[in-house]
Symmetry: C2
Subunit: 190 residues, 2 copies
């Protein structure tokens, strides 16, 4: 799903409005392993993944890298807290494969918010969607077995399983990577 499709799916805009909105975004190609936002720095942009795959992660007390979220085609991505409140980000944003992104600064977004009330609604919808995704994952993590969590992921984000390394997925699902490996092989059926 392209950028304009994704937007109009959430809030209907006219052709002219869409063009104006689009002009406040920039676009760029980014390569695998690029870090878009470092922990501790303010996340300056709201991104949209036109094509590709990224993730957010943090380092826990033992410096272990924990994947927090995957962002694939057609999704908005940001370190939301940091971006909206100009606070230091608690997370890294990393590019997992060569990708094409749209992005907009806070200032430009504010201009759009002021100009188009419908944009505020769009902003709220994007965050509400993030919230409901995170809540959904929390429910999955909180009371399900490792295998059920993996099944949840396959159902929710089928593409991730084939594009992302085992270790990233394991930490995302809150299990040891050995466990995920065994789930995938040993009892690959059911």
């Amino acid at each position: 799903m392209g950028f304009t499709d994704a937007i109009t799916a959430l809030v209907p805009f006219s052709e002219d409005e869409l063009n104006d909105i689009l002009n406040h975004f920039k676009t760029k190609a980014v390569s695998k392993n690029e870090i878009l936002v470092h922990e501790g720095e303010v996340c300056k942009y709201l991104y949209f993944i036109e094509q590709g795959m990224c993730r957010s992660y943090y380092l826990n007390e033992n410096q272990k890298d924990i994947t927090q979220w995957f962002f694939s085609n057609g999704k908005f991505m940001s370190s939301a807290d940091s971006f909206f409140q100009k606070k230091p980000s608690l997370y890294y944003l990393e590019v997992l494969e060569d990708s094409v992104l749209y992005f907009i600064s806070k200032d430009n977004l504010e201009i759009l918010f002021a100009k188009y009330p419908k944009m505020e609604k769009l902003g709220r919808l994007v965050i509400t969607e993030m919230l409901s995704n995170v809540v959904h994952k929390l429910n999955a993590i909180q009371f399900q077995t490792a295998r059920e969590r993996y099944d949840y992921m396959l159902a929710e984000f089928p593409d991730i399983a084939y594009q992302v390394s085992l270790g990233h997925i394991a930490s995302y699902l809150g299990m040891a990577q050995e466990t995920l490996s065994r789930i995938r092989n040993h009892d690959a059926s059911h």
Copy 2:
């Protein structure tokens, strides 16, 4: 923290604006065990807890009641997804002790959104805060031991520990209630 204080802490409004906003809310006293929203019904209001304690919960596949979130003094509460998108709620909202609430309908909120651009900002901030709280809890749940999760709760929501039943807290923290009981007693001092 009272209602007007909570609002002005997030976004500055004039005296007159505040009064107008307040007039779009209603207030009521609710009693312990009252269900404000049932699963499957659309959540019609955004609530503010002036005084008291509530929770959201759902029933899992085995009909076990799982607490999802606690809402105490000075917090906004809603089944956010349901309220903003008029979808059936996935959760129940329940009153845990006699409470005093402010609440506003979607229509009235839309009126305020249209009238005061700052209100849109308030809406976004409220949801962003919910998002960051949920993300924080997810991180706590995902890789911490039962005892660490309890400590997280004590640090984050100290009041809950003394007002809410053991079973509700245990399901909120994703552990068996026997486990929580043992944590509280046996090794109460680490």
